[in-house]
């Protein structure tokens, strides 16, 4: 697996650039990952990211878009505005998590 440098330290990623060890993540790194894909994080973005992190810690897998909207209480439409085009993947990336496994 490749290693890349983010937030001034080596980070283990897969070929696409997603973190392979969720424990290497912290919020400073999250902000840098977001910047790398052209997103400046606001409180609303953080609400989604923190939900994803907490849910992953409990469930052991990345929440789908529907789960972020229903359990994380952010409307789907808003998630598409916050993380344009590919909200599910972009949220997972910024949160230092793998892409979700689920379909919906």
């Amino acid at each position: 697996m490749p290693v890349t440098t983010m937030a001034g330290r080596p980070i283990q990623v897969n070929d696409e650039g997603f973190l392979t060890d969720a424990d290497e993540w912290d919020e400073a790194l999250g902000a840098e990952l977001a910047a790398a894909i052209g997103i400046t994080l606001t409180d609303e973005h953080w609400k989604a990211i923190r939900f994803l992190r907490e849910d992953f810690a409990e469930q052991g897998e990345t929440a789908t878009l529907r789960r972020v909207s229903t359990r994380g209480e952010i409307p789907v439409k808003r998630l598409f505005e916050l993380f344009p085009q590919k909200p599910t993947k972009k949220m997972a990336y910024v949160a230092g998590l793998p892409k979700p496994r689920g379909c919906v």
Binding site: T4, L65, R66, Q85
Partner: protein, 174 residues
């Protein structure tokens, strides 16, 4: 520490989410069936495409009209009759109450996966930027108007209109 992992500071590995060559894809899905089990493939694929940033249009025609008709959309049914994939004796399907039972079982199975029911699924698809279109001929055949249809349906249009709107799209017929 005697060894350190090689790092590439100049070129961080970042996913390529928005490159121009990955945008501009369009998907057209024709929904022609009104059985519960045949509604889901279209909904799941539409939702997946939208999540990948693909412009997605759904055209509801013939029995697929039931998916967007207010009076039927929450009440699509699943039957084992004529569906050998259920691996149940076909004769059972004709017994009173079997369709209701099969439908209820399928709805529970779907809900257990945290997958929404048809109306809520359509709502999510629209919230994700998907477009819903109703077939003119089906509306005329069933004497239905826009007032009878799910509010988020954009318009009742002809097949020709739909083909025009989805110029260059990949197309799925379900």
């Amino acid at each position: 520490m005697t060894t350190t992992a090689p790092t590439d500071t100049a070129n961080a590995i970042v996913p390529d989410f928005d490159s121009p060559e990955r945008t501009g894809r369009k998907l057209a899905i024709i929904c022609s069936k009104g059985n519960l089990d045949m509604a889901y493939p279209a909904l799941i694929l539409a939702n997946a495409a939208l999540g990948e940033g693909v412009e997605t249009h759904l055209f509801f025609t013939f029995w697929g009209f039931d998916m967007i008709t207010k009076s039927t959309m929450a009440d699509l049914k699943f039957t084992i009759i004529g569906n050998t994939a259920t691996h149940m004796p076909q004769g059972l399907g004709g017994l009173p109450g079997m369709t209701a039972m099969a439908t209820s079982k399928m709805k529970k199975t779907i809900a257990a996966l945290d997958v929404p029911d048809v109306p809520e699924f359509l709502e999510q698809i629209v919230a994700s930027g998907g477009h819903l279109w109703a077939c003119r001929m089906s509306a005329d055949m069933n004497h239905l108007t826009e007032a009878d249809l799910y509010d988020e349906v954009e318009a009742i249009i002809s097949a020709t209109d739909f083909i025009e709107k989805t110029d260059g799209a990949q197309l799925l017929f379900i």
